[in-house]
Symmetry: C2
Subunit: 157 residues, 2 copies
């Protein structure tokens, strides 16, 4: 478990960078397992209640995205399906499937790292999210994106 | 396992109705378990290779839609992530999450029963599907929709 105290003089931007760095650690686990390196956390009141990294190859399952696992884990932790007062941190902009899943969770906030030009959900429109969900992109974007670039560069070797 | 032989003088419409009726049986399992009654099958060359019904309440997981489970099961059966030469039969028009998942599977065809006015993915546009995926709606639509109507009528009692 990791706690983050918002009362100790740090601003929300610092909190977002803190959690995105932990999401990056999840992404690095995927990288090491030769999975597309994307990591995700769900945070509630400064506490991580769900985490995941991409496992589509290991599980032979296209639905095993980092976000999906983090949502499922968070719901188990809370004992309820809805992720109110929760934030999803994910290193790469979510795809349509994960944005659609976030709708059902009614999550309060989504913070992502790097934009995903081809398969990111914002090319469809933000109306995929629940009306209650706030969206912020670009947190540690360079580091999050670089991990993907490195991965695909090594794949082509 | 259930096989359906297309060579025996029956036309594709009859095959679609046959499998939709089996998807309806899955939906009825959800109904009996007090879950929103939606059922799904994945069929490859006349053979059911994955099935599922909505389990969001039992699993306390908003991602546990019938289609998601049928995709995961089908990929396990095939031993590969991609559902080429496969058809998804689902009693109700898929939501954005499930349409987004179908994109990643590259499934050949989606056949659904009743339209879903509020949360069906076609209100966003068919461009959510993979370019290889054909779409057909309205198979046994009345029966598929009636099961939902009955469910919500009983819930309100």
């Amino acid at each position: 478990m990791s706690y983050y105290n918002f009362e100790e003089g740090q601003n929300p931007e610092q909190a977002d960078e803190h959690f995105m760095r932990l999401a990056l650690n999840e992404a690095k686990k995927a990288y090491e397992a030769e999975e597309i390196p994307i990591g995700a956390l769900v945070v509630s009141h400064g506490k991580i209640i769900g985490r995941g990294h991409n496992l589509t190859e290991q599980l032979n399952d296209v639905t095993a995205h980092a976000e999906m696992q983090a949502f499922t884990a968070a719901a188990q932790t809370l004992g309820g399906k809805y992720l109110k007062d929760c934030t999803l941190y994910v290193t790469i902009e979510p795809c349509v499937m994960c944005a659609g899943a976030s709708y059902w969770t009614q999550i309060s906030r989504i913070v992502f790292g790097a934009h995903e030009e081809k398969r990111g959900f914002t090319r469809i429109g933000q109306n995929l999210l629940h009306p209650k969900t706030l969206l912020k992109g670009g947190v540690l974007a360079e580091e999050c994106g670089q991990l993907m670039t490195d991965f695909f560069k090594n794949k082509r070797k």
